[in-house]
Assembly symmetry: C2
Homo-oligomer: 196 residues x 2
Amino acid sequence: MSRSAYLAGPEVFLPDAAARFEAMKAACAQFGFIGKAPLDNQLTPLAHLTPTEVSREIYRANVETMRACEFGIFNLTPFRGPSADVGTAFELGFMTALGKPVFGYANAAGDYLDRVTARKIHQAPGRPATWHDENGWEIEDFGNADNLMVDSALAISGAALIRHDPHPADPPGDLTAFHACLRRARDYFARLDAPI
Amino acid sequence: MSRSAYLAGPEVFLPDAAARFEAMKAACAQFGFIGKAPLDNQLTPLAHLTPTEVSREIYRANVETMRACEFGIFNLTPFRGPSADVGTAFELGFMTALGKPVFGYANAAGDYLDRVTARKIHQAPGRPATWHDENGWEIEDFGNADNLMVDSALAISGAALIRHDPHPADPPGDLTAFHACLRRARDYFARLDAPI
């Protein structure tokens, strides 16, 4: 039986989302996995529902798919700001709490700190300098790709967040980092399945 | 025994974070709850650790605090972009998966769509128009405050995300919406504890 992977990421917002997920599923199949996209869980007709109700039904379908999958692969590329898509971050937290293995990548090689307008603040002598944004809020400076909850959940699950600057012609179509996650997942389960 | 509330939000990045959380804990106490902030779980000395290791230890402490708390209150105010802080979104997903009640607010009254540079795309006749950002990615148009996973998790847990435009003098110090969450939590547990 092939293991199933929940494919979380902002690709759901691409006009050609279905085709994008087909390419990712084909990659999963090459590694012996079954990829499941948020869009897969086709719902009963939604035409009679309000927009709010539609969004709740999509949520329920995504939660059901996460519960059914054995692990998750998360596209944590910065989305409309310096951080990952919050829907993907929510799902990473959700699958982490369920105790499922999580793998993730960002199609952006830099640190979080590099993406926020920052100035270094020198405080009292003996205290380390800190970075602050234009509104005076501190900026994390741990060398992570994103908020420490995101990077740490992945690292503690078994594989650090993979960073990669994608091909500029079609960044979401560059599956280099996605493939790297699949390799790590394959190795993870190979160790799990190995005879003692 | 008072119930304990995990206080999730970007206040951890404020220079006066400890004082901010003290004010929130005082509000919790007025409602009969014990507020627990991410900063509470004081760690063993971190001076000998690398920055990456420090961030992992903070993660572990936050996860431990979430597991120990009976419910969560989430500050989902837009942070460095149109969406909530991804650390807070991760934690919302985490506590949702644990089956703990979650309450949340945003100190921003508008819809998500209002905060993203948007243009309306009219597609083929008979298909509804959709909103796209400047890069061509679709923008959710469900009337939610943020990504549908965030709004829906709260609504399905029992209380919709509370939206409020805070006092401009000190937005993070305006606890109006935080108080509204505390009232909802009090009502939630009162119903739970009521004799049949």
